[in-house]
C-alpha cells in the first residue's frame, strides 16, 4: 500500500512542496526524527516479536514503515539490514507470512547457522522494538493463482520458510490442491513448524505431509522419490533446501525431461566460471587495479581501499549498484556479459569482462 502521503495527487504535491522546504534533505529525514518508521528513504521496520520455532530458529514479526507494499507473492524473500556495532549487515530471508491478511506485519523465519554471524544475531540477539532496514519482496519462487492441480514440495532444513508462506496462503484462500510435502530435518526438535504442518495435514484432506528425520532415516535419495510420492512425474514441483539436494534434483529432473516442471529456490549464490578479468578503475581518475575473472568488482574495490556500499553480496538487494562509465562486465550467476555506459551494475555479482571503469 502506498504510504499516506502519496495516496492522492494533492498529497503528492504537498510532498514536492515539502521537499522544497527541506532541500537538500527530504521531508522524511525530519519525519523520521518523530517516528523512525515515517520514512521511505531506506525502508524500515520495527521488530514486534521474536518467536522461537526450534532451539536455533526463530520467526521475526516485523512491522514495516512507510513505503512498504504488503502485496508480496507467497514464496518471495525480503532483505533485512541490521545494525551491529555501528555497521549495517544485510541478508535475505523468505517471508513466512501470508500476504495482506496478517495485520500490518510481515514475518521471516531465520535459522541460526553455525558460521552465520548475522543469523545467530537475529535468532538470539534481536530485541523486540529494534528498528531494522528492509528491502522489498523479490523472487520468482511463487505458485500461480489458481495453483496447479497436483503439487509436490521437496524441502530440506530451513528451505521450509518459503513453502510455509505458500501453504498458509493456499490454505487461507481455500485453494490448497492435491499436494505432497516431503520435509527433511535432522531430528524432530530441529523441524520448524512441525505441529502446524501436522495440524494442517489433518485438516486439509488433500495435503500429505511426509516428515523425514535424517539423523535416523538418512537423507532422501533422489532415486527413491517414488517411495515418497509415486506419481511425482505428474506433479509440479517446488524445491528448496541445501545446494547438493537441489543440484541432485535438477539433474534428475533434467535426465527425465521434467525440468520445466521444477521450481527451485537457492539461498546460496550459484556462480559460473566468470569472465576474463581486466583493469578496473574505481571512479574516473580513481584507483586502478588488475582484477581476475573470478573476483567480483565489489571485492576488488574493497581490496583497493574504496569504500563501496554493499548489501546481501549475492545479487539480491541492489545496495551495491553503481553506474558503469565504460567497459563491460559479466554476471557471475548467469554468465551473461553486459554493460552500456551509464548502466547500473551489481558489483557484488559482477566481474570484469575486459577493462572497465565504474562511476563512483
Amino acid at each position: 500500500m502506498a504510504p499516506l502521503i502519496e495516496r492522492t495527487s494533492a498529497l503528492q504535491r504537498l510532498r514536492t512542496l515539502g521537499k522544497g522546504l527541506t532541500t537538500p534533505l527530504s521531508p522524511d529525514d525530519y519525519l523520521a526524527l518523530i517516528n523512525p518508521l515515517w520514512t521511505q528513504r531506506e525502508l524500515r521496520g520495527r521488530v514486534e516479536k521474536v518467536v522461537a520455532e526450534t532451539e536455533n530458529a526463530a520467526t521475526l514479526v516485523i512491522r514495516p514503515g512507510w513505503g512498504w507494499s504488503f502485496d508480496h507473492a507467497p514464496g518471495q524473500y525480503i532483505g533485512i539490514g541490521v545494525e551491529i556495532d555501528g555497521r549495517f549487515h544485510w541478508r535475505s530471508y523468505s517471508l513466512s507470512s501470508v500476504p495482506l491478511v496478517e495485520g500490518r506485519t510481515v514475518s521471516i523465519t531465520v535459522k541460526a547457522m553455525p558460521e552465520g554471524f548475522l543469523s545467530e544475531h537475529l535468532v538470539n540477539g534481536l530485541e523486540p522494538g529494534t528498528i531494522v532496514r528492509l528491502a522489498t519482496p523479490q523472487g520468482d519462487f511463487v505458485v500461480p493463482d489458481p495453483p496447479p492441480e497436483k503439487m509436490l514440495m521437496l524441502v530440506g532444513g530451513s528451505g521450509i520458510t518459503p513453502i510455509m508462506s505458500i501453504l498458509r496462503t493456499l490454505d487461507r484462500r481455500g485453494s490448497l490442491p492435491d499436494a505432497v510435502l516431503s520435509y527433511s530435518a535432522r531430528h524432530r526438535e530441529d523441524m520448524m513448524f512441525h505441529d502446524e504442518l501436522h495440524e494442517l495435514a489433518q485438516r486439509a484432506e488433500h495435503l500429505t505431509f511426509v516428515p523425514r528425520f535424517t539423523d535416523d532415516e538418512g537423507m532422501l535419495e533422489i532415486e527413491r522419490l517414488d517411495d515418497v510420492c509415486h506419481d511425482w512425474m505428474e506433479r509440479e514441483t517446488w524445491a528448496c533446501g541445501p545446494a547438493p539436494m537441489l543440484d541432485a534434483l535438477t539433474d534428475h529432473y533434467r535426465r527425465l525431461g521434467r525440468e520445466d516442471h521444477l521450481h527451485v529456490e537457492r539461498f546460496n549464490l550459484a556462480v559460473t566460471d566468470g569472465g576474463e578479468g581486466g583493469t578496473v578503475t574505481f571512479g574516473v581518475g580513481g584507483p586502478t587495479v588488475e582484477v581476475d575473472g573470478a573476483t567480483t568488482l565489489l571485492d576488488a574495490g574493497e581490496k583497493a581501499g574504496v569504500n563501496m556500499l554493499f548489501g546481501c553480496r549475492m545479487g539480491i538487494c541492489h545496495t551495491c549498484d553503481v553506474p558503469l562509465a565504460s567497459g563491460r562486465v559479466r554476471d557471475l550467476r548467469s554468465g551473461d556479459e553486459h554493460g552500456e555506459p551509464g548502466e547500473y551494475v551489481q558489483t557484488c555479482i559482477s566481474v570484469a569482462a575486459g577493462d572497465c571503469t565504474l562511476s563512483l
Partner: protein, 395 residues
C-alpha cells in the same frame, strides 16, 4: 628543488621519512579496526541535533517580526547550517562514515546545505586539494584564485585590493566555493572543456536554484507578514555560516609555519612524503569541545589531512600520537589559539597585497612561474583514502 630541499625536512633521512610513514599507517590501521557503535552513535547524535536545531530555527522564524524571535531563530538556523556544513557534510563527503554501510550517511549520495554541488566539491576539495595540498599551481585552495597567499605567487597590481577581496570572500564564501571547481583560471585561458563547463554550470544552477528558493522565497513566504524579517534572518544565517567556514578553512593552511610547495616536490613522491607534506602544509588551532564540533574538528587540520577519511570524532585521540611523532622526529606541528592563527592569516593576506620587495622579512621567493594546470587524466594516480568523485556523465 627536490623534496629533500624543503628546509623543514633537511634533517630527516629517507629512512626516517619512511619510518614516519609506517607509524602513521599503523595509527590509521588501529583506528580503522576500532570503529564501531560509539562512532556511529556520535554521528547520528550530531545529525539529530543539527536537524532539530534547523527545524526549531525555521519554526521560530515564522514569528520573526518579533525581534527576540528573529535573533533566536537566526542564531539557531545559522548554527544548524554551520554544523551541517562543517561536522556533517564535509566529513561525510570525505567518506568518513562510509564504513557504516548506511546509504543515508554515505559519501556517494550526500548533498549538503550550500550552493556548491556535492559532486563538484568531491573533485575540487577531496581530490584536488587533498592530493595536491599546498602545491602552487595545483591546489586551487591557495587563495581560491582570488587572493595571493604565497610569496611564490606572482604579484600584480590587482593584489593591492586584497583586503577588500578578502572581506567579500568571507561574506560570500559559499558562492566562491560554488564556482571553485569550474576553475576560472582555466576558463580565462581557454583551456576548459566546453562540454564539462556546460554540465557543471547546469549542476550549479540547479543547486543554487533550490537553495535560494528555499531560503529566500519559500520560508519568507510561509511566514506571511514576517516575509522580510524571515528573509533577512535567512540571509544573516547564511552569512554567519559563510564567515565562519571561511575563517576555519583559512586557519587550516595559512597561519605562519604552514609551508607551500612547488610541483617539483610532487615528482616521485612516496606515500610517506605525501604524509609529510600534509603535516607541514596544515595548521591546527586549539579550543574546547564546542569549538571543535562547530568547526567540523578542523582544529585538527593536520590529522584531517593525514587521514581525511577517518571519523572526525577520532581526530583528538589521533592528534596525541601525531604530536608525539612530530616531537620525536623534530618536525614542526603548527598550532595555536584560533584568534592567533587567524591573526597571522590576516597579516599574510595584507602583507602579500604588496610586492615582495616591499615586505623585507621573508626569504627570497622562488621565481614565480605561470604554469598550465594539469588535466585530471594527466595527474598522478590519486590516493584511495581521498574518497570518491565522479565526472562520468560527461565522458
Amino acid at each position: 628543488m627536490a623534496f629533500s630541499d624543503v628546509r623543514e625536512y633537511t634533517h630527516l633521512t629517507d629512512e626516517e621519512i619512511e619510518a614516519i610513514g609506517r607509524e602513521l599507517d599503523e595509527i590509521r590501521a588501529e583506528v580503522e579496526a576500532s570503529r564501531g557503535q560509539a562512532d556511529r552513535d556520535y554521528v547520528t547524535r550530531v545529525i539529530t541535533l543539527q536537524r532539530r536545531l534547523a527545524a526549531a530555527g525555521r519554526i521560530t522564524l515564522f514569528a520573526s517580526f518579533f525581534p527576540p524571535a528573529w535573533l533566536l531563530g537566526t542564531a539557531m538556523l545559522g548554527s544548524a547550517k554551520i554544523l551541517e556544513n562543517m561536522e556533517i557534510g564535509h566529513n561525510t563527503m570525505h567518506g568518513q562514515w562510509d564504513w557504516m554501510n548506511d546509504p543515508e550517511i554515505h559519501s556517494s549520495n550526500w548533498e549538503w546545505d550550500t550552493t556548491q554541488p556535492a559532486e563538484q566539491w568531491k573533485h575540487s576539495h577531496n581530490y584536488i586539494h587533498h592530493q595536491f595540498t599546498n602545491v602552487l599551481g595545483h591546489d586551487n585552495d591557495i587563495g581560491y584564485g582570488i587572493l595571493r597567499m604565497s610569496r611564490d605567487q606572482k604579484w600584480t597590481p590587482y593584489n593591492l585590493g586584497q583586503p577588500v577581496y578578502n572581506a567579500l570572500l568571507a561574506l560570500f564564501f559559499e558562492w566562491g566555493v560554488a564556482l571553485h571547481d569550474l576553475d576560472i583560471e582555466a576558463i580565462r585561458k581557454g583551456q576548459k572543456d566546453p562540454k564539462l563547463l556546460k554540465k557543471q554550470l547546469k549542476q550549479i544552477g540547479d543547486k543554487v536554484g533550490k537553495q535560494a528558493f528555499k531560503d529566500y522565497l519559500m520560508y519568507p513566504a510561509l511566514s506571511g507578514p514576517s516575509f522580510f524579517h524571515t528573509l533577512s534572518a535567512n540571509v544573516t544565517a547564511n552569512i554567519m555560516r559563510n564567515v565562519w567556514s571561511y575563517m576555519i578553512i583559512f586557519c587550516g593552511h595559512f597561519p605562519d609555519g604552514a609551508v607551500h610547495f612547488t610541483e617539483e616536490e610532487l615528482e616521485d613522491e612516496t606515500r610517506a612524503e605525501w604524509y609529510l607534506r600534509q603535516m607541514l602544509g596544515s595548521a591546527n588551532f586549539e579550543g574546547g569541545t564546542l569549538l571543535h564540533l562547530m568547526s567540523g574538528q578542523l582544529g585538527y587540520q593536520i590529522e584531517h589531512h593525514l587521514f581525511p577519511d577517518l571519523p572526525s570524532n577520532r581526530y583528538a585521540e589521533i592528534a596525541v600520537k601525531v604530536k608525539d611523532i612530530c616531537r620525536r622526529y623534530d618536525i614542526p606541528y603548527t598550532t595555536g589559539p584560533l584568534h592567533k592563527q587567524y591573526g597571522q592569516t590576516l597579516r599574510t593576506i595584507m602583507k602579500l597585497s604588496l610586492p615582495n620587495r616591499r615586505t623585507e622579512d621573508n626569504p627570497a621567493p622562488i621565481a614565480p612561474r605561470e604554469r598550465r594546470r594539469l588535466r585530471d587524466d594527466e595527474r598522478p594516480t590519486r590516493r584511495s583514502e581521498l574518497g570518491k568523485w565522479s565526472r562520468a556523465a560527461t565522458a
